[in-house]
Symmetry: C2
Subunit: 405 residues, 2 copies
Amino acid sequence: MTDIDHPKQVDSIIVNSSQLLTMTESGAIPGGAVAVQDGVVIETGKTEDLLRIYPECPDIIDAENQLVMPGFVDCHTHLVFAGERSGEMEMRLKGASYLEILKSGGGIHSTVRATRDASAEELFNLGMERINRMARNGTTTVEIKSGYGLDEETELKMLKVARKLSAEHPLDVIVTYLGAHTVPTETDRKEYVRWLTGSSLETFSEYAEFFDVFCEEGAFSLEETKLLLDAAANAGFRLKVHAGQFNDLGAAGLAASSGAISADHLENIGDDDLDLMAEAGTVAVLLPGVPFFLQSPDYPDARRFIERGIPVALATDFNPGSCPSYSMQMMIALGVFYCGLTADEAVAAATLNAAKAIDREDQTGSLEPGKKADIIILDVKSAGELPYYFGTNLVTKTIKDGVLI
Amino acid sequence: MTDIDHPKQVDSIIVNSSQLLTMTESGAIPGGAVAVQDGVVIETGKTEDLLRIYPECPDIIDAENQLVMPGFVDCHTHLVFAGERSGEMEMRLKGASYLEILKSGGGIHSTVRATRDASAEELFNLGMERINRMARNGTTTVEIKSGYGLDEETELKMLKVARKLSAEHPLDVIVTYLGAHTVPTETDRKEYVRWLTGSSLETFSEYAEFFDVFCEEGAFSLEETKLLLDAAANAGFRLKVHAGQFNDLGAAGLAASSGAISADHLENIGDDDLDLMAEAGTVAVLLPGVPFFLQSPDYPDARRFIERGIPVALATDFNPGSCPSYSMQMMIALGVFYCGLTADEAVAAATLNAAKAIDREDQTGSLEPGKKADIIILDVKSAGELPYYFGTNLVTKTIKDGVLI
């Protein structure tokens, strides 16, 4: 700590953790503490050291021997939508597959109808409820995709709602345009791709930072995905790709060679595409809540990515059809039990690597000087206990930009 | 409601539910309410009716359009123990099986060592923490087994701790003696069975209502289980059996023909034993958190039981080695996704049928006049949404004997 130029005062210090998981080279600090000023981490260290350095700090938050770590970054969600699809869950449980439901006009299409019919205010209120639930479960940054509009008016409505959530909710919201979620039932496929790749991109680029494509049978082919990514890159978007969820169409390799920041899902991916991702530094975003909810045994194998040095992130994929869970803690449990991650790797996947997947690793995902004070306190002693006590909400405090929410 | 002799006054009314799930013939009452006096349900009905009948009720609890239902009955747990086994989780994830860990002196044996070393006070404090967590997740009645002592002193210590928890915690605690959990490493098998079936039973019967046996390879054979059950029945115990968890030794049929109130686990069970259970009215207690945590694809198939009219219950099996989850909500999700239960069946399995498995269906598990006012309020609209939003704690209020805890 000798090389830090300590400020005279800090706003608050969180003390007496069981461990402070910094997600930096400092690793886990037993009994660690973190000092915060103006919503930013000033320094981390042992509790006794920080209390000595800042004896007059007005706000000492006692972690009561609980785990303190960076807030979760949920880097892949479809949080803005209207419409109820728990009935579809029952259809699936009686034997219909996800792709069958999609082809019969259900799935995404039923959410598209409901989202088109909903007012921006309704969508905003639903979105606020959902973000609040995520915050209670420890998420401090959330990416939100459009993609239930599939026409200019509704996609814009969704993006504006996501921006309004960003402005009005304490959580950071990162906005992704996903007009390329599927082809709307009323439109010719070629015409829709023409519209997606045309001048509409400029309009959407004012509201969204990332452009995403669902490359899958029943959605967009590899060829179409390439056209879409090229056009979006030309319009100034950063790229993301839904790749290999049900079938390996080669989308992960295309994502890598197109300079996408992440390829997401990745249950089905060949070794060549893994090598391309490693070479390009593409983040692998795994969404294990989806196979869990769809009763599929095909979880993504995290070890194949980690062996090649590919950063692995976890996210909920929160959406009404294939994963309606708000909980990054549940994704950590699934990542450890079913994707081959260690508990430490799963925690990194839910924080720092997830921040990388949305280009925010300079701002959040670890506790280090200058980053946002996005901090959660959990009623466990170590990272290993996080998956162990699965299925509950272990978060007792969520702190965003230094403020308890 | 005309046939009810209304009292003049009630202590409180919970009003404005999205639905009130009574778990009786009244079914789900949209916008339903429940009136409570002296910790007991007085009557259920529509919100406007109950407010009209009891206009001067001093305590109106607004459920704010959330789901209101009976508290969960967790009818199979090993909640009293000391010792940390998250390291064993990592062993398993590297390939060791549960039975291999058991044979190498880990598993139950490591918890036995720690529990023998712990004081009654330590065990009590750990138990209180755990019951509090369960209560926050909606459990209002919990069964607790001994079985980490495997000697007279420690089994008694565990049973006394369970009884003390029952006396000092608002939740109802049902106590089961499980000396027949496994054979302690230091004792000869025959000698241990002799001790279990001998005069010690009389001592233990003063502290526990139920007697349970783990009938499994590495624990007790079918023959030994029969000896144990007969001796326990003679000593006045009601019976329970851990049956068919890893191997089908025929224990479920033995449980049925021995008059056991429940057979638990049941991943591996033949049709003949199912028929015996149906005939005897034995409750099937399914514990889907165990295969989930142990990464086993072998979930129990609830439909085989339901087709034969066998009541199906769900429980957590809370224990440090094979299911450290506090959450009955998680068990409902696993029951629906992986055991073939509908959402309505899973909710009945977690309440009324679970009460049957511990002989408390006259007291709890449904909302009807004369039963305990064990009530939970959840931030969902219907039973179907309970598994849908899996992995989080949806309970916003837990009410035990009419009192908010």
